[in-house]
């Protein structure tokens, strides 16, 4: 019985610490994708301004509340606008942004294929 208890505690401790580590990783990942609104071109993760530090706390809180990554981005987007997200989602504002480079790639390939390469 004693052994079982000890075993349980070890497992709980282990999972807790790994949850913590995971949460830290997640926090870092999320804050890297948020723009520090009062800085010049820094992410929340990189910045140590008051604004960035308070945002880090908010992210921690939201993670503890059990929100997923996407939900947290949604939350910040609704609060501060899309400007805060470094990873602009695919929507009607950003179709050109995401698709134009791909389109250029395809057209470039087609031009090279059509005009230079002998088909045999």
């Amino acid at each position: 019985m004693k052994f079982l208890k000890f075993f349980l505690i070890v497992i709980i401790l282990f999972t807790l610490s790994s949850v913590n580590a995971e949460e830290n990783d997640k926090r870092n990942k999320i804050t890297k994708n948020l723009r520090c609104l009062i800085c010049q071109g820094q992410s929340v993760y990189d910045s140590d301004s008051e604004f960035a530090n308070s945002l880090k706390i908010v992210v921690d809180k939201k993670l503890q509340e059990g929100l997923s990554e996407d939900q947290i981005y949604e939350y910040f987007k609704s609060k501060y606008g899309e400007w805060i997200l470094y990873d602009p989602g695919l929507n009607k504002n950003t179709y050109i942004l995401w698709l134009l480079p791909i389109l250029i790639f395809l057209i470039g390939g087609a031009i090279i294929y059509k005009s230079f390469i002998v088909k045999k």
Partner: protein
């Protein structure tokens, strides 16, 4: 006072010389057996006066002549001499004077170094370059005069932004500009060659040297900026996809493409239109970059001069240049090489075309990512940010075929090629995949794309490594550069995957400990320097192997202007960098401590040096 006068009137004289050079060129052009000696001496005089102007600005900084507005805005008597001098180009006016210096230097070098090319070609190149030079003279004198007076004369200056007071950043702008502005000579000569219809293989090998020079300096300039950002901006990254970084990356991508493309032109006299377009694009991108940075449109760490009038001037000037080049391209350029336009699919030509294709794609990603938010803001006043995730998602998957092509392409022959040694090509590929898999498996980072990416980088690594020892393979410069590139990609990947980081808040005397690392915050010292006061924190950090390092990161409060900065303390070894930086937590006696172990950091810098070394070797080979 006197230096400002000398500097200003030197600029005016330089402008007048520029205008008179148009006249001499016109006269010489119609009667062009030899290059008029007047043209050469006037070009030299122009360079001389720009140098005088630049030196007088430096002297004004050295003696802290605060009657000069530029000096007043960007200097201070307590600054060390070195930063007084480097402050000369650490601001808008001074850096534009540096632009002008490089422009005039390159045309002078071009005129005296170019032999075996028609005189008309030299004269026309000079004319196009003078159009740019005169434009910049006007820009400088009209909107950004570095020699403006202030009266009454202030007794003290406003000081230089402390993050610019740094040795790497002191030489970063001159080196970068040699590459960035150096591409102007490619632009001018390509327009001249197009107008005269002399684009040929011999022209290609002549212009290749100038492309190499710009390319080497641009690569080194970007590297210096990146190193600076790594230790000075204090958050341990080296590339942030910051708009201003992108603006220097874009001409680099175009120039690298051009460098590969000129090889085809040099050997086979084809792809002329493409070479012309690329040359024009490179310099246009440099100009666009200047416009974006100077107009203050971009939100970035670099914006130190925001003035709409300046932006407008550059924009108008830029449109004139683009219009001029399009005009010349369509009126003078006749494509006469359709006869040999078809390549066998498996040949060196095709592999270079594929390189061009991918490079243009990368360029379009960076370009669209940088300017799209601006357009969206103007059109619909919606603000979005485009950051690292965007670039990573669009660039990384395309790197895989790109790396594989880089490994195989150089082995192919011109016109038509067969794959030789198929067995060893495939066995290297299998070894690379196995190795990548083993590395990632042990580190619990088994993501499919990482394995594939590392395999392809390893593949390039092994292939180029083997070629150093191959007797049949001659192109040493290309091999060095490609080897360097594989090393760069590998170092960046490992650096990202295996970096570890601890962020914590500590008071003096406290200890942080986890399974791998123990951080002891031992003490705090104070230091007083001429231009700043510093708090030095002493840490002792040991890892699980019992190795112990001592670190002393600093918090500096600069006096002019009063700005606090964090100075990281970095221990560099061959295998990894240990990086620690501290910050004060507001209104508390805690310090925010950020400790990072970054594997292969040094190799990122070394591989970029290796890449440019490849360029240097290629340049020297041409000479002999």
């Amino acid at each position: 006072m006197i230096y400002s006068l000398i500097g200003y009137y030197s600029l005016v004289i330089g402008l007048i010389i520029g205008l008179s050079l148009f006249y001499f060129s016109y006269k010489n052009f119609n009667n062009s057996d030899i290059l008029d000696i007047k043209i050469l001496s006037f070009t030299f005089l122009q360079l001389f006066f720009v140098v005088i102007s630049f030196l007088s600005l430096i002297f004004s900084f050295v003696i802290s002549d605060f009657s000069n507005e530029t000096v007043f805005n960007n200097s201070h008597t307590t600054k060390p001499l070195f930063y007084k001098i480097s402050g000369t180009w650490g601001n808008h006016e001074g850096s534009l004077l540096l632009w002008l210096l490089v422009l005039t230097l390159f045309i002078f070098l071009f005129l005296i170094r170019t032999k075996n090319q028609p005189v008309k070609y030299k004269i026309l190149t000079l004319v196009f370059q003078q159009i740019i030079i005169v434009g910049f003279f006007l820009f400088l004198i009209k909107t950004s005069n570095p020699f403006n007076y202030i009266f009454p004369i202030p007794t003290e200056g406003l000081g230089l932004n402390p993050i610019l007071q740094d040795p790497a950043l002191a030489i970063h702008p001159p080196v970068l500009y040699l590459g960035y502005v150096g591409s102007s000579i490619i632009f001018s000569s390509v327009l001249a060659a197009t107008s005269l219809k002399i684009i040929s293989t011999s022209w290609a090998s002549h212009i290749k040297n100038w492309i190499l020079i710009s390319w080497i300096f641009l690569t080194m300039g970007i590297l210096l900026g990146s190193i600076w950002a790594y230790y000075e901006l204090g958050w341990g990254g080296f590339w942030f996809w910051d708009p201003v970084e992108n603006v220097s990356l874009m001409p680099w991508l175009a120039l690298t493409t051009l460098l590969h493309c000129i090889l085809v032109l040099e050997k086979k006299s084809i792809l002329t239109s493409w070479v012309i377009i690329l040359s024009i694009t490179t310099f246009t991108l440099s100009m666009c970059g200047t416009f974006l940075v100077r107009s203050g449109i971009l939100n970035s760490v670099h914006t130190f001069a925001n003035d709409p009038e300046r932006g407008l001037f550059i924009l108008v000037f830029l449109f004139i240049l683009i219009f001029l080049s399009i005009l010349i391209f369509f009126f003078f350029h006749k494509d006469n090489d359709t006869k040999s336009y078809s390549f066998f699919w498996f040949s060196k030509e095709t592999s270079i075309l594929i390189n061009n294709w991918f490079m243009m794609y990368f360029l379009s990603v960076v370009l669209i990512g940088t300017v799209y938010p601006i357009f969206l803001d103007v059109i619909s006043s919606q603000k979005i940010s485009v950051g690292p995730p965007f670039y990573h998602k669009l660039i990384i998957p395309f790197l895989i075929p790109f790396l594989l092509m880089m490994a195989i392409g150089p082995k192919l022959k011109w016109i038509k090629s067969q794959l030789e040694d198929k067995i060893y090509l495939i066995s290297f590929l299998i070894i690379s995949i196995l190795l990548a898999f083993l590395v990632l498996k042990n580190f619990n980072q088994n993501i499919l794309i990482n394995t594939i990416l590392i395999s392809s980088a390893l593949y390039l690594f092994f292939m180029t490594l083997r070629d150093f020892f191959s007797k049949t393979y001659k192109n040493i410069s290309q091999n060095i550069a490609h080897f360097g590139f594989s090393l760069l990609i590998l170092s960046i990947l490992f650096n990202n995957l295996f970096a570890s980081e601890i962020i914590t808040n500590l008071k003096v005397g406290e200890t942080f400990e986890n399974s791998k690392t123990k951080i002891v915050f031992e003490s705090v010292d104070q230091k007083k320097e001429k231009n700043y006061n510093a708090i030095i924190a002493n840490f002792s950090i040991s890892n699980s192997n019992g190795e112990e390092d001592r670190f002393s990161p600093e918090l500096r409060i600069y006096n002019q202007p009063v700005i606090a900065t964090s100075e990281a303390d970095i221990k560099t070894t061959l295998m990894s960098d240990k990086f620690i930086v501290i910050n004060l937590v507001q209104n508390q006696d805690f310090f925010n401590v950020r400790y990072q172990v970054k594997p292969f950091m040094l190799w990122i810098w070394l591989s970029v040096i290796l890449i440019s070394f490849g360029g240097i070797v290629s340049f020297l080979q041409k000479k002999s």
